[in-house]
């Protein structure tokens, strides 16, 4: 990894159109300004990793039918309890 020293107010350029500016340094917190083309998504790393892991978890490589069935079952149970009626026996 390339490591550079920068003072407050100084900037780093990455390629032609990405600029990273050190805005302020407060003990253990650094404020960073980033200027980049709109198509470049910028995330805090831990947030990105969290979103990614949740997306992976959501897909969870289940076949749709299984998921759909368990959902219908779940929603069915709810609707019955909403009505105050016992769940209908089914021939399933």
């Amino acid at each position: 990894m390339l490591t550079l020293s920068r003072k407050s107010g100084e900037t780093i350029r990455i390629g032609e159109d990405i600029f990273i500016t050190i805005k302020r340094i407060d003990s253990d917190v650094v404020k960073i300004g980033i200027q980049a083309p709109a198509e470049i998504a910028i995330y805090r790393e831990e947030v990105y990793e969290k979103m990614k892991s949740l997306n992976l978890q959501a897909s969870s490589h289940t076949k749709g039918a299984t998921k759909r069935r368990s959902l219908i079952k779940l929603l069915g149970r709810l609707h019955h309890s909403d009505n105050g009626n016992p769940p209908q026996s089914s021939s399933e």
Binding site: V47, K52, N55, S59, L71, L74
Partner: protein, 147 residues
């Protein structure tokens, strides 16, 4: 032969399917760009985002306003512009859903930090990390009874 009279043809309302595109994929999964959005009355208020790929992955999603009525989306201007969503954010154009990470009761959670917004007219969508994402949980516990 006796046919049970309660055996009836169930007139199931048909599920609606629409092709949608997420040019940047999902966050962390940039290769997932082509999907089918399935609106199935049987699983309302959930909808399914089915990846059009070999694996046939399904992402279960829910309308965030059903989860949290005071849900407020602050969308970065660049994202709104890219999706062709007007600044006034007129809702008829926008479908917005959040991914449900788990459907195992009682731990059904939805990611309210990064909803997926669709432009209904173009079928273009994007998962957007909200500017006010710190106000919400990425693992918001769903109160399934209130859906």
């Amino acid at each position: 032969m006796h046919l049970h009279t309660t055996t009836k043809l169930q007139e199931k309302p048909a599920a609606e399917k629409a092709e949608v595109t997420l040019p940047s994929g999902l966050i962390g999964l940039p290769q997932f760009t082509s999907f089918q959005l399935i609106t199935d009355p049987e699983i309302t208020p959930f909808v399914v985002l089915r990846h059009l790929g070999e694996e046939g992955l399904d992402f279960l999603m829910v309308d965030p306003f059903k989860v949290l009525t005071e849900y407020n989306l602050e969308v970065p201007d660049a994202d709104a512009e890219k999706l062709g969503l007007s600044a006034s954010g007129q809702t008829p154009l926008i479908l917005n859903v959040v991914i449900v990470a788990s459907i195992d009761p009682p731990n059904i959670t939805a990611n309210l930090m990064a909803p997926i917004l669709f432009n209904r007219e173009t079928g273009m969508g994007k998962q957007i990390l909200l500017e006010n994402c710190s106000s919400y949980s990425a693992e918001h516990l769903l109160d399934i009874h209130s859906l």
